[in-house]
């Protein structure tokens, strides 16, 4: 019963926070709400015994990515943004895409097409600790996808530098 109540609190708060984030006119306020949202996501991970994931959620998303967002937003002219209308002219096109992707998500959820359940049980994770369990899986079983992902990130970094540099000496 307690589990359901806690999950219910997290689910309701997260969805309402997400709605608040996208409906604020002032982007700075959106960011503050998004910060609270990230903490709720981390809290949900903690209830799943995934403490490493929770810490990484805060460090990477709240600590790095959101600060970068803030950095970019501070360079924009917010006072002018505030006076503009809330919707761009192209909003019907966006709405079509949103409805289509919502349909897709609903179909996939009700189609029960989840990925295979892994063979690591919660009792195993509790025995060695979540960090060790994640590390073993990433670097032993899924080493190749992990390296591919890091290579893709490297490509993105190199691309960003090439784009940012006006002329390469």
């Amino acid at each position: 019963m307690l589990n359901q109540i806690i999950f219910g609190y997290f689910a309701v708060t997260m969805i309402s926070l997400a709605l608040i984030v996208i409906t604020r006119k002032n982007i700075m306020h959106s960011i503050v709400y998004m910060l609270i949202l990230f903490f709720h996501i981390a809290g949900l991970y903690l209830f799943l015994n995934a403490e490493f994931l929770a810490a990484i959620q805060i460090i990477v998303y709240a600590g790095a990515i959101m600060v970068l967002f803030l950095f970019v937003i501070m360079l924009l002219n917010l006072r002018e943004e505030l006076r503009k209308s809330r919707f761009a002219i192209t909003w019907p096109i966006g709405a079509i895409f949103v409805v289509l992707s919502a349909v897709m998500i609903i179909i996939s959820v009700f189609g029960n097409r989840f990925a295979n359940v892994g063979n690591v049980k919660i009792s195993d994770i509790e025995k060695v600790g979540h960090t060790v369990a994640v590390g073993k899986l990433l670097f032993v079983e899924y080493l190749f996808p992990f390296e591919v992902a890091s290579l893709i990130l490297l490509v993105a970094i190199v691309g960003a530098i090439v784009l940012a540099k006006k002329e390469i000496k």
Binding site: M28, H29, V32, I59, V67, M74
Partner: protein, 333 residues
């Protein structure tokens, strides 16, 4: 009943830690002014009480009773929120620091990661304060802080990876115990590269001189908190000093052996074993805090491009090299 007992113990621990730390924050300002005064051939505070010992009390009373000025065009909710975020992030990191054997508010497996997460959260207080004040100087201070914290957080985290590799844990208790049973008794020698990177990044992460560009007095008045006054200003100051205490404790716990003394020292001077662990911890902590003041009095402020070049071109490659060396050494031994 048992749960109630556990909760009350935790509450008592929190009260003890917060009051001791706040006392240290107050006297860290006094200590700083005295040390820097002496280094600059001055006397430091000496009017309030004998040797100026009551100066922090006077400062506290003054900041309480000062008029609280809020700029007219500021974003009020964010303006109120920013100092709270700062102090909350700084204070909650105290929860996972073991001050001596067995005394820790919450002994979680992810001690180091939790501290890193909270120190990165502290940047929000600064950035939001800079933005909400609606002032050029505060804004520039906030921008600088955002870039600086992102850059130095990377090297701060990477410099601790060597320690985690050697100890095989994120738990600060385990790290201290692994150190006391290692060859040198503390990790500052085998992790000399990591220790160097950690010191530099910790100073930059807490926005202390010579990396205090977000609040550079000579360029930005007071930087991100230029528009804050009275008690909100005091909250920012307290957050900065708590940040210093946390980074110093992290250095003590991860590199200087925490509350333990190396076994060879104990072998040479057996009577030192009678000294309680908390004394060692506090002595090492004071040495680290003194180091903060020392470099503040000695080194001139960095230029902004120098700061970024140092972070990305020197510290991050060095910490990566340190991880490589530590990993290979651990494989061989």
């Amino acid at each position: 009943m048992e749960l109630l007992w556990e909760i009350s113990i935790i509450v008592i621990k929190i009260v003890v830690v917060v009051s001791v730390v706040m006392f240290h924050v107050a006297y860290a300002t006094y200590f700083e002014r005295k040390v820097i005064g002496r280094m600059q051939m001055r006397m430091g505070p000496k009017e309030v009480g004998p040797l100026g010992i009551l100066q922090p009390v006077a400062d506290g009373i003054k900041s309480f009773f000062k008029e609280d000025i809020i700029p007219l065009n500021s974003d009020k909710p964010v303006f109120y929120l920013a100092p709270v975020i700062s102090i909350m992030a700084a204070m909650s990191a105290l929860a996972v620091i073991p001050f001596f054997d067995g005394f820790i508010i919450s002994n979680i497996n992810l001690g180091i990661l939790f501290i890193l997460a909270m120190s990165s959260l502290g940047a929000y207080g600064i950035v939001l304060a800079g933005w909400a004040s609606n002032s050029k100087y505060a804004f520039l201070g906030g921008l600088r802080s955002a870039a600086q914290v992102i850059s130095y957080e990377v090297s701060l985290g990477l410099s601790l990876v060597g320690v985690m590799l050697l100890a095989g844990s994120f738990n600060l208790n385990d790290i201290v115990e692994a150190q006391s049973s290692s060859v040198f008794g503390f990790y500052a020698i085998p992790q000399i590269l990591g220790f160097f990177v950690f010191i530099v990044s910790a100073v930059a992460e807490t926005n202390r001189p010579p990396f205090d560009l977000p609040e550079a007095e000579s360029e930005l008045v007071a930087g991100y908190f230029a528009e804050y006054s009275g008690f909100r200003f005091a909250l920012f100051m307290a957050a900065e000093y708590i940040g210093m205490i946390i980074m110093s404790s992290l250095a003590v716990l991860c590199f200087l052996g925490g509350w333990t003394v190396p076994y060879y020292v104990l072998y040479l001077f057996p009577f030192l074993g009678a000294v309680p662990g908390v004394v060692w911890f506090i002595l090492k902590l004071y040495a680290c805090i003194f180091f903060y003041y020392w470099i503040r009095a000695t080194l001139p402020r960095f230029r902004y491009d120098q700061l970024m070049a140092l972070g990305w071109k020197l510290l991050i490659p060095l910490s990566l090299l340190n991880i490589l060396i530590t990993g290979i050494a651990k494989l061989i031994i």
